[in-house]
């Protein structure tokens, strides 16, 4: 019964958010709260030789200055510092010793009675260094590329696929070919909420931590292991997150510093970062990719080579799936791909919305566009001719793939048939108009999770799971799933998340929360339903005494006989038989690996974009865009559309504006504020249209959902770049495409 699933519904947490009732990590208070302000290094590599601690401690209101010199002894094994998203290597430990390993590294924490005093005192901290030469430029170090080390994280991120056929031979023989180098800049997540942790030091010495995170249990585990505390003494709460985009997948350094200060001072402490400091930890890595494609005379894509080199830190091997996408999109017989890392004096990169996908797919899709152009084929026709029904590298069929339908519906909505194929053929005065399209893809995955469902004594359904809602709509869709599973009116369902005391859920990333936690919620509600049914059967004069579970249904807060819905028992009456106690059930859901392993599972999209380019100035406007998505079952078209539109906006930003620029003289990011780190503003965004193509999938997970958090961004940058090519005849392969690249 689906009364709510599949319906457009406003966010259940919307009112709390717009009225300010929703509290974020830095908004919690505690009696006697002290405030920490972080001091960051201004060199990229070297040693700290002196810090003027005594002077700083004399400032009235300053409580303590924590540095590597006076920090307490902490866990000494790397393993203790590994969080759920830690790549192979040795995680960064704030205040570990005098070494500076990147520019912006947190090297001291001033704690004071007020935030203002802490900030002022931090401005007076003077640090002397012994500087060493640093190396931060990927372009100058490509020769140092080497394969990533493997570790636990590599179980989730597959290495480059094995070669197929003979690329060199096929490429050489190909009558049509293209080769290009693609350069992607560093990006920082920059959610609007800055990272913050409010650590409440309870009377019994336990910690209650309000943290900005994409997984409260992840922060709990980190704190417990690093500070050698029992898990039960550390509770992490994070009900609302003001955006994260992956930055909350790892505990950030303010959490470490706030906990350290609270434990040392035996006092509650809050540490929040500034916007500038939001540029001092993980980021989307700079990546250089070389692609070569070859096609036969009839337009069969025959050869693909995709090599990528990305930056990482000196201490961890962060890596992404960049070169593995072509095997899921095109049936070329001859392929070869490599993925290498260059360790530099920077902080470890970090997953950021569609990590790897929005790097590798746009490069591939720009070359596909180029090849189609060279052959003289329409880009959609070329993609249809080279459509694959299976994942070539894994040799598995797709659990479902309605990409053809995305092409068809997207093209129709956009009016693609009116396109003149020649570049520069559509213009108005100095304005060149271009139409471009591209494909997007993102893997659909599911993990294990737990959830608890409780029917309260007054007949409300309360469901909990320690997942996060980073603004994606998790609260809302989980409420819908719970309501439908137990046939409850939605007003009587409360879903809660973001608390390490709740049943365990994995970090919220990779577009898998709807599938992972959604399934857990469904199972918990089903299990609770079974329990309630059994209780109903035992009630006096129960109409269900001889009825099987299969013969009943849950509707309008009642258990009803399918064959005669008037035969019913209300859930409120059932819970009433429980001696004044609520009825609860906690369940675990596991993906059915055996079945899933037989298929490749992915969401797809087709993106269509119109741009206007000023011929003289190189300024680009995206005047309209259509994305057609095949993303399995759509639980809530309204929140789903928001996800896709958000991805499209970011895709436009990434294609045209977004870039963290490092000055390699200092190894420091220079445009570290939202005035100079450009993301799309309202004026940049015109018409955006989203189509959800119907796609039934019984394999991906019991809900049939594929996750929509990332698919919206993946196809966008290439569609914009391809439209710019169509408008101008210029193929710009380095993102963002700022106006100087088109002059």
């Amino acid at each position: 019964m689906t009364k709510y699933i599949g319906k457009s519904m406003s966010r259940v947490d919307g009112v709390a958010k717009v009225t300010g009732k929703a509290k974020y990590a830095a908004e919690y208070s505690a009696p006697d709260l002290a405030y920490g302000y972080v001091v960051c290094s201004t060199i990229a590599k070297g040693k700290i030789t002196r810090i003027n601690t005594d002077e700083v401690l004399q400032i009235p209101g300053v409580i303590q200055l924590f540095t590597h010199e006076n920090r307490p002894r902490l866990a000494c094994f790397d393993l203790n510092y590994k969080d759920q998203d830690a790549p192979p290597g040795s995680p960064f430990r704030p205040l570990r010793d005098e070494k500076v390993v990147y520019n912006g590294q947190p090297i001291a924490l001033v704690v004071a009675e007020t935030f203002e005093i802490a900030r002022y005192a931090a401005s007076l901290v003077k640090v002397e260094y012994e500087q060493e030469d640093h190396d931060t430029a990927l372009e100058h170090n490509l020769h140092r590329g080497r394969g990533p080390k493997s570790g636990v994280a590599s179980l989730l991120k597959s290495p480059p696929p094995k070669p197929r056929g003979d690329f060199e031979k096929a490429f050489q023989a190909a009558p049509f070919k293209t080769t290009g180098q693609h350069i992607h800049s560093v990006e920082h997540h920059n959610p609007i909420e800055m990272f913050a942790s409010t650590v409440v030091y309870e009377k019994n010495g336990k910690l209650t931590i309000y943290d900005k995170t994409q997984g409260a249990p992840n922060s709990q585990m980190y704190v417990a292991q690093v500070f050698n505390l029992p898990f039960k003494d550390v509770r992490v709460i994070s009900p609302y997150v003001g955006g994260a985009f992956g930055s909350g997948l790892r505990p950030q350094y303010q959490l470490f510093l706030a906990v350290l200060a609270a434990l040392e001072l035996k006092r509650s402490v809050r540490v929040s970062l500034t916007r500038q400091q939001m540029f001092t930890f993980g980021h989307r890595p700079a990546t250089v990719q070389n692609l070569s494609l070859g096609a036969t005379a009839d337009g069969t894509l025959d050869a693909i080579r995709h090599d990528a080199i990305a930056e990482t830190s000196r201490f961890e091997d962060y890596f992404e799936i960049v070169v593995n996408w072509s095997g899921m999109l095109y049936p070329a017989e001859n392929t070869k791909s490599t993925y290498d890392l260059v360790p530099l004096d920077v902080f470890t990169p970090l997953d950021m919305r569609a990590p790897g996908g929005v790097t590798g797919v746009p490069a591939l899709e720009m070359e596909i566009d180029e090849l189609a152009h060279k052959i003289g084929m329409d880009p959609i026709e070329f993609r249809l001719k080279n459509y694959t029904e299976k994942d070539m590298d894994q040799d598995l069929p797709f659990s479902s793939k309605e990409l053809r339908e995305c092409f068809r519906q997207g093209a129709e909505r956009f009016g693609w048939s009116g396109r003149k194929p020649e570049p520069r053929s559509m213009r108005r005065g100095h304005t060149l108009i271009g139409w471009g399209m591209a494909t997007g893809i993102w893997e659909a995955s599911q993990g294990p999770a737990r959830a608890e469902a409780v029917l309260t004594v007054n007949g409300k359904l309360r469901v909990t799971s320690a997942t996060a809602d980073i603004g994606t709509g998790t609260y809302t869709i989980m409420t819908q799933i719970a309501a439908d599973t137990l046939g409850m009116p939605i007003e009587d369902v409360i879903f809660r998340l973001g608390d390490s005391d709740m049943p365990l859920a994995p970090i919220e990333g990779g577009s898998w929360t709807a599938a992972t936690v959604g399934t857990a919620v469904k199972v918990a509600c089903e299990d609770l339903g079974k329990k309630l049914f059994k209780m109903a059967q035992k009630m006096k004069n129960s109409p269900f005494a001889d009825v099987k579970q299969d013969d009943i249904t849950f509707a309008d807060a009642h258990i009803r006989l399918k064959s005669d819905p008037s035969v019913a028992v209300s859930l409120l009456d059932i819970v009433g038989t429980n001696g004044g106690r609520a009825v609860s059930e906690t369940s675990t859901s596991l993906p059915s690996m055996l079945e899933q392993r037989k298929y490749a599972r992915a969401a797809h999209s087709a993106v269509f974009v119109e741009v206007e380019v000023d011929e003289d100035f190189g300024t680009v406007r995206v005047t309209r865009a259509v994305t057609a998505v095949a993303g399995g079952r759509i639980l809530n078209p309204k929140t789903a559309r928001s996800q896709i539109v958000g991805g499209m906006v970011w895709g436009i930003s990434k294609a045209l504006e977004e870039e963290s620029v490092m000055d390699h003289q200092f190894g420091r990011f220079m445009n570290h504020n939202l005035s100079e780190y450009h993301v799309a503003v309202h004026a940049d965004i015109r018409e955006l249209d989203v189509i959800f193509v119907e796609e039934n999938d019984t394999i991906v997970n019991p809900l049939g959902v594929k996750g929509l958090g990332e698919i919206g961004i993946v196809g966008m940058p290439a569609a914009v770049a391809n439209a710019i090519f169509h408008a101008t005849g210029k193929r710009v392969r380095s993102l963002p495409i700022t106006l100087d690249k088109l002059l």
Partner: protein, 336 residues
Amino acid sequence: MNRFSYSRPGNVDTAVGELTRHEGAKFIAGGTNLLDLMKENVERPNHLIDINHLALKTIEDTEDGGLRLGALATNADTAYNDKVESRYPLLSQAILAGASAQLRNMATNGGNLFQRTRCYYFYDTGTPCNKREPGSGCGAFNGFNRIHAILGTSDENPETRCIATHPSDMAVALAALEAIIRVTGPNGERTVPIADFHRLPGNEPWLDTTIQPGELVTAIDLPAKGFPDYYAYIKLRDRQSYAFALVSVAVGLEIENNQITDARIALGGVAHKPWRKPEAEAMLVGKTVTEADFQSVAETILSGAKGYGHNTFKIELAKRAIVRALQRAAKTETES
């Protein structure tokens, strides 16, 4: 941010007096620039004199047919003022091309003139900058200088080098309009033509303007000639709104019987002050709209321009912007 004391004088003389008495004090108007710089520890005033209660908010006609803009009138109130819109649409357009609606509601005309460069290094105390820390060096010179100047820079002596730009849009229009800035200081009132208000970095890049410590801008006088019929403001930037100019051009023309009788061209985003080149403007006067050679005018304005790597594209971009702005002002632009 350091600690500071605060006062709120009620009249100009008290304000000027307070500033003269307090070494290290600063006026604060809308605060949209000063507060940001204080948070970054770039500006460290020990005393703030809030001038928002001074009676300098009006916009009124002057005797010689011009318009007087109060120093504390907001950018929004100025841009949407009927008289400004009808008589000085160039100014209105330039202001509205800047910042965002929220910022323009706070920003004042006086504060806009004094806003400091957006050079990344100037803002980041973790890097060298001669403007912020005299003698420390110029981070931008060999660094990331995409938004930096191509004209009138000071690039020889490492200790006084500066290639920063003045970021204001409003000031570019004021330069084209030849506005007069009214200033009150410890020695009374004086007027400063906009062309002399901002300065080039020279050997003292830490000085942005020729205004002396203790002087308060009270008003901006616009001369009668406002170029309401033939004008254009073109701003080229990295996104459609809420970004500073990479290059901007303000053009005002007077055209009688198809003949250009007066021409003003001012550039923003290219120098430490709004940039004008009188001989280029002279090349237009006396020409008919069709015979005027906009391209040579652009070449003349950019003669001597120099790029520093990331910003070299600005030279060509500025030329194209000048040509387009002249076409738009002269109404000869092809449809777009």
